[in-house]
């Protein structure tokens, strides 16, 4: 029959067209230097350094913790500082890239407006001009081009976009009531105080109450807590799960109730600060202030103390040459899973879990989506953010969309291996298929799609980790080595990195007699 033939022909033509379109999208898997990192893991014999560079303080790890430590040390008058990082540029999870359209993030892309306790973040923001002054009541005033512009978030659900991420479309009145009850509960927790007079959930984490009653929440998963508290409706579970995956790379079945509730009850304000390149903007501004501080790309493979100085041995990027940095003191600002292989005499900690992530950056042709954060309800991804959202141009033309997906479908080691084995074309097809329901024209819009894999994206606050002894032990300095990393907080956020970096700087200053 003519009908069927036409149908088959049309179908074949559509497939051909879409296949041709897919192959027109360029891209690759880039960055995240796992091969260099794995060299360290697989190293058979320990290389002997061929030359020694002397410096006042070495900072091993150029993420936010390391950079803040460097900044504070420099401000305290330490003249000669060297930052060593595995990658060829600093920033860690806040790294970014740039092209003709816009700078764009590869990882962390916003910082919530800091509360009163987050003094280190406030201080930094004042120094960087993010806080421009204070109002009559002493509250900080933020540069308004840095505050995330409206429309901030939207959710694609049942074929339509709704404003905000808390589901409203297709939600029954009972479900709505339950969600309101959850919000009310979180607001209560914001106002609650432990027996020590502290907030139960605070940023920085270590300023939170040590009241055992609140800490008991760290013994169970968020899923168990929600069951217990009768928060069971599907839209709410989805939303809470989404938020946990967004902040910790793992859902309510994995993270502890304490960590999940920390996300909801530690912040009084809902505004966030963001930039086209995400927190990469902050990295650039900090690096501008760090002029004079040396940056060296190397794989640190050993940190030891010898005769009153710290020796940091690293392999050059080519892997051919070992260099020794000799310093009066060091800040070790690398993740713990690396640190315990590098620093002599450190115990191997248990219960250390890291969430693997995939991040894709898409070059988007034409008018960008109107919201900053765009989330799909029926998806394993977290959606995407729009790099040009803060642009003040009245008719924005092209953009970069940064797409995030925590790989939490399997235990981290397995998910990590699967991710490493997966070719770029498979990631491309997966991302485009996820985008298509909300953007049927995605094939015509996307011209390039690059992928970055974060094998150990962030610490995962599983039950027992935040309240446990292991985490506490991580903060103790070892001789002339101070430690700084969000692993020590159990919560991988910019605010914690600032606090850890500043704390380590203070420790180092006292070591070298400059405090």
């Amino acid at each position: 029959m003519m009908h069927r033939r036409t149908f088959i022909q049309t179908g074949a033509a559509a497939c051909l067209a879409s296949c041709a379109k897919t192959s027109a999208i360029t891209g690759s898997i880039i960055g995240a230097n796992h091969s260099a990192g794995h060299r360290l893991r697989d190293m058979k014999s320990v290389p002997v350094p061929v030359r020694t560079i002397k410096t006042d303080v070495v900072i091993a790890g150029g993420g936010i913790s390391g950079l803040i430590a460097a900044l504070r040390l420099q401000q305290a008058g330490v003249a000669d500082i060297t930052i060593i990082d595995l990658e060829n540029e600093p920033g860690g999870n806040s790294r970014c890239s740039s092209n003709a359209i816009s700078p764009y993030p590869w990882g962390a892309h916003y910082v919530p407006v800091p509360g009163d306790e987050a003094t280190e973040v406030r201080r930094l923001f004042e120094e960087l001009g993010v806080i421009t002054g204070h109002d009559a009541a002493g509250r900080p005033i933020y540069e308004d081009t840095h505050l995330c512009a409206d429309q901030q978030e939207r959710l694609f659900v049942r074929g339509v976009w709704q404003d905000g991420l808390g589901p409203t479309v297709g939600v029954s009145s009972n479900e709505r009531a339950e969600m309101n009850r959850f919000t009310a509960r979180m607001n209560e927790m914001k106002l609650a105080r432990g027996r020590d007079g502290r907030r139960p959930f605070c940023i920085p984490v270590d300023a939170s109450s040590r009241d055992a009653e609140w800490l008991a929440l760290d013994a169970m998963t968020m899923e168990v807590w929600m069951e217990k508290e009768n928060f069971r409706c599907e839209p709410l579970r989805w939303y809470v799960n989404y938020c946990c995956r967004d902040d910790y790379g793992a859902g309510i079945a994995q993270v502890s109730a304490w960590a999940a509730l920390h996300y909801f009850a530690s912040r009084d304000e809902s505004d966030v600060l963001t930039w086209p390149e995400g927190n990469g903007w902050l990295v650039k501004r900090i690096m501008e202030k760090l002029r004079g501080v040396k940056f060296q790309q190397a794989v640190v493979y050993r940190m030891t103390e010898e005769g009153g100085s710290v020796l940091v041995d690293g392999l050059s990027p080519s892997g051919n040459e070992a260099i020794r940095f000799q310093a009066r003191a060091a800040v070790c600002a690398m993740p713990r899973f690396v640190v315990q292989r590098v620093v002599a005499d450190l115990p191997l900690l248990e219960n250390l879990h890291y969430s693997p992530w995939m991040v894709a950056n898409m070059t988007w042709r034409g008018e960008p989506p109107p919201a900053w954060d765009n989330v799909f309800r029926e998806s394993a991804s977290l959606g995407y953010v729009v790099a040009t959202h803060q642009s003040l141009h009245p008719y924005p033309q092209n953009s970069m969309l940064t797409y995030y997906q925590p790989l939490d479908h399997a235990p981290p080691p397995q998910a990590r291996q699967e991710a490493l084995d997966k070719p770029w074309s498979a990631w491309r097809d997966q991302v485009l298929a996820d985008m298509r329901p909300a953007h049927p024209d995605v094939m015509e819009r996307v011209t390039q799609l690059d992928v970055m894999l974060w094998g150990h994206g962030m610490i995962r606050p599983v039950p027992g980790f935040i309240s446990g002894a292991a985490r506490k032990s991580m903060a103790q300095s070892l001789g002339r080595i101070a430690f700084a990393h969000t692993d020590m907080s159990g919560v991988s956020i910019f605010e914690e990195a600032c606090t850890r970096g500043a704390d380590a700087a203070r420790t180092v200053l006292s070591m070298i007699g400059k405090a």
Binding site: M2, H3, D144, T145, L147, C148, A149, D150, Q151, Q152, D271, P370, S391, L392, H393, P394, Y395, P396, Q397
Partner: protein, 512 residues
Amino acid sequence: MNADSVTPAHERSTRLLLLATVFTIATCGLIYELIAGTLASYLLGDSITQFSTVIGVYLFAMGVGSWLSRYVSRSLVAVFVEIELLIGLVGGWSAALLFMMFESADSFRVLLYALVFIIGTLVGMEIPLLLRLLKDRLEFKDLVSRVLSLDYVGALLASLLFPLVLVPHLGLMRSSFLFGFLNAIVGLIALFMLRKEIRWWRGLLAQALAVLVALIAGFVFSEKLMEFSEHGYYAGENVILSKSTPYQRIVLTRHRDDLRLYLNGNLQFSSRDEYRYHESLVHPVMSRVNKPSRILILGGGDGLAMREVLRYPEVVNVTLVDLDPEMTRMFSSVPMLTALNQNSLTSSRAHVINADAFTWLETNHEKFDAVIIDFPDPTSFSLGKLYTTTFYQRLQRALTPDALMVVQTTSPLVARHSYWCVDATLRSCGFQTVPYHCYVPSFGEWGFIMASKQPMPTETHLAPDLKFFTNEVFVTEQSFSPDMSRVDVEVNKLNNQALVRLFEKEWGRYLP
């Protein structure tokens, strides 16, 4: 059924096919009716009236068709095939024809009811003819029950398909072509099955193929047809110029002596009454500034605000910042347009810059005595940023201490909250404001807000020979009737876009 076992296979499939035909044509028939009703409500508004009259005429025409069917006595099959092809052709092209007639409401009405009547009549003939074709193939009670039930089920399918699948995924024009195509296919199949009963079936086949080609062509080129007919959307005038730039679609229309400019479908001015708008926009500020020597116009690429500014001989330099180079080029070179703006953009005192205002303000170091802001309405989040505290704060750096500025501020009648939101935003940035409004027939009631850091000067030096604006008129312009008087509204900031949300809500009531 007993009859089935004795009926030859060929006869059985013919019967089935004819019944399938009933179903298809019932679906098609209702689709055309729905398309006509929808298009009529698009253009003429008042969907209750439109749907009600379209359905009425359609049903009446079906009655006429049924009655006419009695006059078909010979070559029943051939006539049936002809009718199918005709419905396919007329019904299939109906949406496209109506779209093209969009520009004129009167001829649209004539065409609309003519099409509805023709299609209705033809559809009305279908069922009686089919009944007659089937009467020897089925018992009467079966015949009536099957044909009528299929007819009604087909109607249900159409009424569900139309809003859920067709309009959102195919659009009106393509849906119409698609169902025309199905109708013609029904004709073609009937032709093949019953060709033994038709003497000149080859002639009909040629006709059928021609109709199918016409419908497929229409379907394939419907995008082009849409573009073509969109010109007419800008009211009943001839489109004399239309251009798509990276930023907007510029359309100029002319109807007798009335020249109109549309940007992205929004009317920017009508040459008949634009003087009311531009005089009200410019002169309150210009007549009050002490020594208006350096003036800044943001937006206003049509050069009409510039024309008003240049009436003041004290003006030394006018900087006009408009994003779209195509706009300023057209209004500097096309004779019809330069006649309207009196060559203001090519004046030696005019300095035209093509840039977006935010970026330009970043690099500007000049100070201005007066600023005239003639931006498009805040129809998107991106445009809404030009009305925020951030924008007005940056603008302050370009003002002399006693500079005056004015902002065109949408309609305080249609969008009352939007209007007062701009006022609240300016006040929150430390400006004193004078809200006022004037009546522009082609726009309706339109609003402006004059703002300054210092107390507003009282002395005025108004340019001579204005057509509309006087100091007395200005007094009345500052009075607001209760239906548009001040309301308390949130300040518009980048991170709340209060204005865009209000604007969308308020103007949304006026759109279909």
